[in-house]
Symmetry: C2
Subunit: 477 residues, 2 copies
């Protein structure tokens, strides 16, 4: 790929140097601004040169500061604007003169305000950039987070390099996604917050991530598409080789109105969106949590061969309601085969248990021999494609402390191997602080072993359902 | 109400004495059993006498133990069976001889097994009891929790007396409900786990709670109804004077199959259930969390006059997606009146904010004057019935520590008064342990002031929608 093609974004994600225009000699406090970008880059070990630019500062965060980009003694790959809206046209003119390759505008106050004069400034900005051969990210967004390239808009973004790409029209949700994702064990290749998308658009970033070897799974939050056809084309090239998980904002009447105020987007019809997802194999999600855990599932679990699940870990009413949740999510909770049922009845007491599916037999399964036997029976049961195992973490800890918990986890590992079908683990929520701590410990043990866990039975069921539908798409295409 | 009518359940909830048949001289470990009932009663300060019964123990938990109920030197109001299934008919015969008034069977292994011989034992049990004038709770359930009467099936149940009644076919969910509810600030008048409902049924308990002055709101988890007409009749008498919130298990095909294994219930048609709820003003919920927070909302918030909400606390994409969530939950997020918008534009900067609804202007609102002014504008806005305020608790704490948090909470109190419409507060989730602790502190401050908070924007939106529909039902009936 030639580095000089205008649609090659390599230098955007891996610039040799960056000018931060509107860095400040004063602390920004809790607000975002030029300095938070510098701090983010330092935290991500940016390997190139950082050039702070400020009208009259001599130095910023210990670095020499420049009065304008024109003063910088090197060619500039990438400039970030964190300046008043009223100054952007003048500064863009300077960047054109300086032959900067990429500009990201953190600055807001353009078409998203709905005001004629602000819309015109955005149009003029794009015109100037285009004439000067500059590609734009934004305006009105957080820009680029690429830990490998050393770019980040905040020091709170994780410096660990991973394989999840994320493209977001909203900076807030890009930040929430990386924060929530990191907490649950994800790390990232490239994250883009692209705001008003006045030049570079969602499909440009998606196409880049599609070709990017460092990115294995792609997530996106989008509000509206300026070029639906280009988006569909980009998606079509992704979904057969990498999962593409999209959260579409503005799917309701009020939400669509809100997208206009946020990023000047036209949200479009929900029906068209849904049918597009079905046709193209886009995995559609409806919340940040669903986005994070769908990606975790796709990254760590094998795709199930079908949607028929066994359910384990509930008791009584919990078993009934888990079954309702699973079937509401599109799964089937079939009766186990007669062979499995009779085999289970050999060692599970009749009173207080149920072995037909859902499986209500947790006490019996605390004996490892019984647990492995059960996994083998489910492995051989032709009615079952996957097992959802809701683990009563806090209860286990109350019963037998950490030693018991560790036995339970080890038993789960062994059972997973014996099952030879996807086992999806939900860690039951607890209320007490003690419970939160124990649950986190258990999460970390599983996570260190590369095993996905889900925050609720509902989340686990949703992911299995999503993954089995994606398998159907892959089979059909 | 005469104490001698067989349908008077006063002595079930407030017995003068209780025989625990199957209490044990050995510790039960982590399993439920006779002793956990005794421990629960002691924890709830049972004011009467407890008589442990065991075949050959001399004393149990420091109390004199009896070989059989027949040996107890007093008339017995209430006996709890925690004995092997094979012994129940003999012990029931003794209770008949002893003229016990109420029996609860913790013992399982009856019709829920689906086996002919076990079903026959349950039928014989009911026949014996009926002949002897004994009313039965269960079998296959946890029975009665009534902190005022001093009854509880575990010492982990809260001894605090409250006004929430709960009737549950599942003991596990009754336990989860009380635990989760307590954690979020609820306390209870009477909770019943009624299992197979071989004699006393859901509608018997509902009718009792309907007439019970100590119970202001009633929740229920049910799997199937043996007498749908009686249930409807009981519900009809409740919903106009007290909210009745019902979670129906077995609403899917697999779930319905599971109810049969759990409590031998026929789950019935989901369509009929839904239309019954609409007709009778039953508030239908679909998860434990929704049950808990619906009850909290009904207990602590005024009913809104309509379903048009303002949304505050999001930024950018968060505002858009909150709006989607609200409208998906059945609310409307309308544009504010032009008068409100122009007034807000007087003091909210254009760049990076939005004042049309959803309101994306959190930084401006950190000034108390601006916050109160905004609440007054929403109070006077004819387009708005309620405000959902999503509070970024952890962020606020990071910005300004506890002092800032306290200012924020005080500002919320004052704003709530100024608004004069329901303000529904969601406390944003956080990941870190630090965040969990801060969030809990903030919850406790609001809870101590009698202010409801909700665990997510989605939960808050769901509750407003539910409450506005209940207001419509009350208006129409």
């Amino acid at each position: 790929m030639s580095d000089d093609r205008p649609d090659n974004l390599d230098r955007l994600f891996y610039p040799k140097n960056v000018a931060i225009i509107g860095a400040s000699p004063k602390s920004a406090g809790f607000l975002w601004g030029g300095n938070t970008f510098i701090e983010g880059m330092i935290n991500c070990n940016f390997p190139g040169k950082i050039f702070p630019v400020h009208r009259n500062a001599e130095s910023i965060l210990g670095m020499k500061s420049y009065k304008s980009v024109l003063e910088i003694p090197e060619d500039i790959d990438f400039a970030i604007f964190s300046i008043p809206q009223s100054a952007v046209l003048k500064v863009m003119q300077e960047c054109v003169e300086k032959r900067v390759r990429f500009v990201h505008l953190f600055t807001a106050g353009f078409s998203e305000t709905g005001r004629e004069e602000n819309i015109r400034v955005e149009e003029e900005l794009v015109r100037l950039a285009k004439k000067g051969g500059i590609r734009l990210v934004g305006p009105n967004c957080m820009g680029i987070f690429c830990p490998e390239g050393g770019l980040a808009w905040s020091k709170s973004l994780p410096s660990k390099i991973g394989s999840v790409g994320f493209v977001s029209q909203s900076g807030q949700l890009a930040g929430h996604f990386t924060g929530t994702g990191e907490h649950h064990g994800l790390s990232f290749s490239k994250v883009v917050s692209f705001g008003n998308a006045s030049d570079l658009q969602c499909h440009d970033f998606l196409s880049y991530l599609a070709a990017d070897d460092k990115t294995e799974i792609i997530g996106a939050y989008i509000e509206g598409l300026k070029d639906g056809r280009a988006f569909a084309e980009a998606a079509r090239h992704i979904t057969r080789k990498k999962p593409l998980v999209v959260w579409k904002g503005g799917q309701t009447e009020g939400g669509a109105r809100a997208t206009a105020s946020h990023t000047a987007s036209i949200a479009g019809s929900t029906d068209i969106w849904r049918s597009l997802c079905r046709q193209l194999g886009i995995i559609s999600v409806n919340s940040l949590e669903e986005m994070v855990f769908t990606i975790i599932g796709l990254q760590k679990l094998p795709l199930p061969n079908g949607s028929r699940v066994a359910i384990l870990g509930g008791a009584g009413g919990g078993s009934v309601t888990m079954t309702d949740v699973a079937e509401t999510e599109g799964l089937k909770v079939p009766r186990l085969s007669e062979k499995t049922i009779s085999a289970l009845e050999q060692f599970v007491p009749l009173e207080g248990n149920s072995v037909k599916n859902p499986l209500d037999m947790m006490i019996t399964l605390l004996d490892k021999k019984n647990f492995l036997k059960t996994m083998e029976l489910l492995r051989d049961d032709p009615n079952i494609d996957a097992l959802i195992f809701s683990q009563p973490v806090h209860w286990s800890h109350q019963v037998g402390g950490r030693a018991f918990m560790d036995m339970f986890i080890q038993m789960t590992y062994d059972g997973m191997k014996a099952l030879e079908k996807p086992m999806i683990i939900a860690l039951e929520q607890t209320h007490t602080l003690d419970g939160v701590v124990i649950r986190r410990e258990v999460f970390e043990k599983y996570n260190a072993a590369g095993i996905a866990t889900f925050p609720s039975f509902q989340s686990a069921a949703q992911i299995v359902s999503t993954m089995s539908r994606y398998q159907v798409f892959l089979n059909d295409h």
